[in-house]
C-alpha cells in the first residue's frame, strides 16, 4: 500500500510542548489547483498499479483548521478524477479534535473515515492553547469534540507521547486514558526532544523501556478487559505469527511506499522528514508518485536493511521487530540515515526484562 502523509497546512491552534509545528509560523494552505493535481497523480498511480491501494493520511498542522469546505473539495476531486480508483483510496485523519464540528464529520463520513487518530495528555501544561498553554480550555474543546465523534459513531484512537513526567505515574496515566476513551486503543510514542529541553520532557531509552514494562506487566494480565496498546499488540502479534506487526518506525518497510507532501507541494520521505525539512524529493508538480517512490534516496533507505543485517544488527534476535529503527531517528542521532537508531536500547530492555519473562515468548 502506498502511504501519503498529506499536510495541507502546517499551522495549528494548539501549542503542545513537544511539537514544533507552531514555531514554524507557516500559514500557507495547499491550494485547490495543487489538490487537483495530487488526485490526478493518485489516479495515475492506481491505474498503473492495479493491485495497490492508496492510504491518504490527512495530517498537519491541525487539519480541522481547513474547514469542511476543503474536505468537500477533496471529496469532489476524488469523485470526479478518481472515478475508477476511488474505492482503493483510504482516508485517515490525525487531528487534535478541538475544532471538529458536524459539517466536517459529515464529509469525513463521505470520505469513508470511521475513526480519528488524536492525542491527549492528562497533565496540564503539556497540550494547550496560546503562549500560556491553556490546557483547561483545550481539554474542554477536546472532550466536546470527543462527544460529537461518539454521537456520530466515529472511534478515537489516542496517541500518548511518553515524556519524563509520565514516569511518575505510568499506571494512573493509562487508567486515565482508558477510562475516558474505550472506543479504540492507545498508542505510546516516545517524546523526541532534539532541541533544548526547556520543559524537562526528554527521557532516556532505558526510562522509556521501564515505562512500557510497568504498564505491560499490568495490561498483559488484564488485556481481556482493556483496549489494545501499541506497541504491545505489535510485539505480541509478531511473536505469535513470526512476522513483523510493528508500526512504521520499526517495520523496516517504509522505504519505497511512503511519501510526505507539504502545503507548497514539496515531497519528502515521510511525515517526520517533512517536519524536519530533510530529504526533499522534489515537487509533486514535477514528479509522479511512481517517480517519487523510485527516487534514489528511497533506494538507499531500502538498501539499509541489508547493510544493517550484515553489520550492526547482524545476528540480533530482535531484528524482526526492530529493523534497526527509524532511519530518520538514526539521522537525528548519528547524522547518518544508514546507521542503526538508538531505539535498539529500549526495545532490547523492554523485551528481555519484561515482555519475554512475562509472556514466555522468546524472539
Amino acid at each position: 500500500m502506498a502511504v501519503l502523509i498529506f499536510k495541507a497546512l502546517e499551522n495549528c491552534n494548539s501549542n503542545c510542548v513537544y511539537c514544533d509545528v507552531i514555531k514554524k509560523h507557516k500559514t500557507h494552505i495547499l491550494g485547490y489547483d495543487l489538490l487537483e493535481l495530487i488526485f490526478t497523480r493518485i489516479n495515475e498511480y492506481l491505474l498503473e498499479n492495479t493491485q495497490e491501494d492508496f492510504s491518504f493520511t490527512w495530517h498537519g498542522g491541525e487539519v480541522c483548521m481547513l474547514g469542511a469546505e476543503y474536505f468537500e473539495r477533496a471529496l469532489y476531486l476524488q469523485e470526479t478524477i478518481c472515478d475508477k480508483t476511488k474505492h482503493r483510496i483510504n482516508h485517515l485523519v490525525q487531528s487534535n479534535i478541538t475544532l471538529i464540528n458536524q459539517d466536517i464529520i459529515d464529509v469525513f463520513k463521505k470520505l469513508g473515515i470511521d475513526s480519528i487518530g488524536s492525542s491527549f495528555d492528562p497533565l496540564h501544561g503539556i497540550r494547550g492553547f496560546g503562549p500560556e498553554r491553556d490546557s483547561k480550555s483545550y481539554m474542554k474543546l477536546f472532550f466536546k469534540g470527543y462527544d460529537l465523534l461518539q454521537k456520530n459513531n466515529l472511534r478515537v484512537g489516542i496517541i500518548y507521547v511518553v515524556h519524563k513526567q509520565s514516569l511518575l505515574n505510568p499506571l494512573e496515566t493509562v487508567q486515565f486514558l482508558t477510562n475516558f476513551n474505550t472506543s479504540s486503543g492507545i498508542q505510546f510514542s516516545k517524546a523526541y526532544i532534539y532541541h533544548e529541553d526547556k520543559h524537562n520532557l526528554a527521557l532516556s531509552m532505558e526510562e522509556y523501556a521501564h515505562f512500557l514494562g510497568i504498564v505491560f506487566k499490568e495490561w498483559y494480565k488484564k488485556q481481556s478487559i482493556y483496549p489494545a496498546i501499541t506497541p504491545f499488540t505489535g510485539f505480541i502479534n509478531s511473536a505469535k505469527s513470526g512476522q513483523c506487526s510493528m508500526s512504521c518506525t520499526l517495520s523496516g518497510k517504509c522505504a519505497k511506499n511512503w511519501i510526505n507532501i507539504t502545503p507548497e507541494g514539496m515531497t519528502s520521505q515521510c511525515g517526520r522528514t517533512g517536519d524536519f525539512e530533510l530529504v526533499q524529493l522534489g515537487s509533486i508538480k514535477d514528479k509522479t508518485f511512481k517517480e517519487l517512490f523510485d527516487a534514489p534516496f528511497k533506494n538507499q533507505i531500502e538498501a539499509r536493511r541489508n547493510l544493517l543485517l550484515n553489520s550492526s544488527c547482524k545476528a540480533c534476535r530482535f531484528w524482526m521487530v526492530c529493523h534497526g529503527g527509524c532511519p530518520l531517528d538514526a539521522y537525528m542521532q548519528h547524522g547518518d540515515f544508514m546507521a542503526k537508531a538508538d531505539e535498539c536500547a529500549w526495545i532490547k530492555t523492554f523485551l528481555t526484562e519484561y515482555f519475554e519473562p512475562i509472556t514466555g515468548f522468546k524472539f
Binding site: K140, D147, Q175, I225
Partner: protein, 287 residues
C-alpha cells in the same frame, strides 16, 4: 436527531397513549391484569415493545402471576415479597413468565428477598439508582453471586455487566433498570412531559413538553450539557479519572466515594475481575 433512538418509558394507562406512535417503548404499569391488551394497542400504533415494567403498589404475594403475559421482557420494581407461603405457589408462573425482579439495596429485607429468589433461580437484581445503598451488604452478596457453587441466578446488574461488557466500548449500568438517560426518556403519568431519569421524573424536572419539543435546540442543549458532565472529572483530574471502577460505574456513585467509602470501588473491581476471568476463559486473551 438526538432523541430518535431513545426508548420511551410510558405509563400504560396514559390518557394520551393513542398519541404515542412509531416509538420503542417500555410500558409501565402497577397491575398485570390488562397488560396483554395494552401491549397489543401500543403495537397497533406501530410501536415496538422493548419491555413491560411492573411497579406494584403492594407486596408481590398479593398478585396473581398465573396469567398470560406478553412475550417480551418483563421487569418488576418490587418493594416487598409479602407472605412467603402464598408467594411460593406463584413461583412456577413467575418462572414461566420469566419476570425479573429488582429491589432497592437499602434494607435487610431487600437483601433477603434477592438471596431467596436468586437461589430459586428467579431473575433478580438491585436498582443501584436507589438512595442510601448498603454497600457492605452489596459487596457480601456480590461474592456470593459470583463465587457460590450452589445453583442461583447471578443478580442484576452484575449479570448485565458481565454479559455486555466490551473491552472497547462503554457500558452504562443504569440501562439494566431503564435509567440510562442516553437511552431512555420517561413520560409523565399525566402529561406529555418527558424526563431524562427516574429521579428527574419523580422531581418533575422535565426536559421536554411533548415529543415535538425534543426537536428544539434548547432541549438538545440541556441534553448535551448532561452528557458533558463527565468532562469535569477528567479536566480536573478527580480521583474517578484514574479509578479502576470507572469502566463500570462512570462516576455514578461519586457521592459515596466522596464520603470516604471504599466499598463501591471494591464492588465494581470485583465485577471487573469476574469479567476478566470470564473473558480469559472464552479465549478473548491474545496469548
Amino acid at each position: 436527531m438526538t432523541f430518535d433512538n431513545h426508548i420511551i418509558v410510558c405509563p400504560i394507562e396514559h390518557s394520551s397513549a393513542h398519541e404515542i406512535k412509531d416509538k420503542t417503548v417500555v410500558l409501565k404499569t402497577s397491575s398485570l391484569d390488562n397488560v396483554s391488551i395494552a401491549v397489543e394497542k401500543f403495537k397497533n400504533n406501530n410501536n415496538i415493545i422493548h419491555a413491560v415494567l411492573f411497579v406494584p403498589d403492594k407486596p408481590l404475594s398479593e398478585f396473581n402471576f398465573d396469567i398470560a403475559l406478553p412475550n417480551c421482557k418483563i421487569v418488576c420494581f418490587a418493594s416487598k415479597l409479602g407472605e412467603y407461603s402464598i408467594l411460593r405457589k406463584q413461583f412456577p408462573y413467575i418462572h414461566k413468565n420469566k419476570i425479573l425482579f429488582f429491589f432497592e439495596p437499602n434494607s435487610e429485607e431487600s437483601f433477603l428477598s434477592v438471596k431467596l429468589l436468586s437461589t430459586l433461580n428467579i431473575a433478580v437484581g438491585f436498582k443501584l439508582n436507589s438512595k442510601d445503598i448498603l454497600w457492605q451488604d452489596l459487596l457480601d452478596i456480590c461474592f456470593h453471586t459470583l463465587y457460590s457453587k450452589a445453583s442461583h441466578y447471578i443478580f442484576e446488574p452484575i449479570n448485565y455487566l458481565i454479559s455486555d461488557f466490551k473491552k472497547e466500548g462503554t457500558i452504562h449500568i443504569e440501562s439494566s433498570y431503564f435509567d440510562n438517560f442516553r437511552r431512555y426518556l420517561h413520560l409523565s403519568d399525566t402529561t406529555m412531559q418527558l424526563a431524562l431519569t427516574q429521579d428527574d421524573l419523580k422531581n418533575k424536572n422535565f426536559i421536554a413538553d411533548g415529543f415535538e419539543s425534543l426537536l428544539l435546540k434548547e432541549t438538545e442543549t440541556v441534553y448535551e450539557k448532561k452528557i458533558a458532565e463527565w468532562h469535569a472529572v477528567f479536566i480536573e483530574n478527580k480521583p474517578c479519572a484514574t479509578c479502576v471502577a470507572w469502566r463500570l460505574c462512570n462516576g455514578s456513585f461519586l457521592s459515596y466515594c466522596d464520603k470516604g467509602m471504599s466499598e463501591p470501588v471494591a464492588f465494581f473491581s470485583e465485577i471487573l475481575e469476574a469479567i476478566q476471568s470470564k473473558n480469559n476463559r472464552v479465549g478473548e486473551i491474545s496469548i
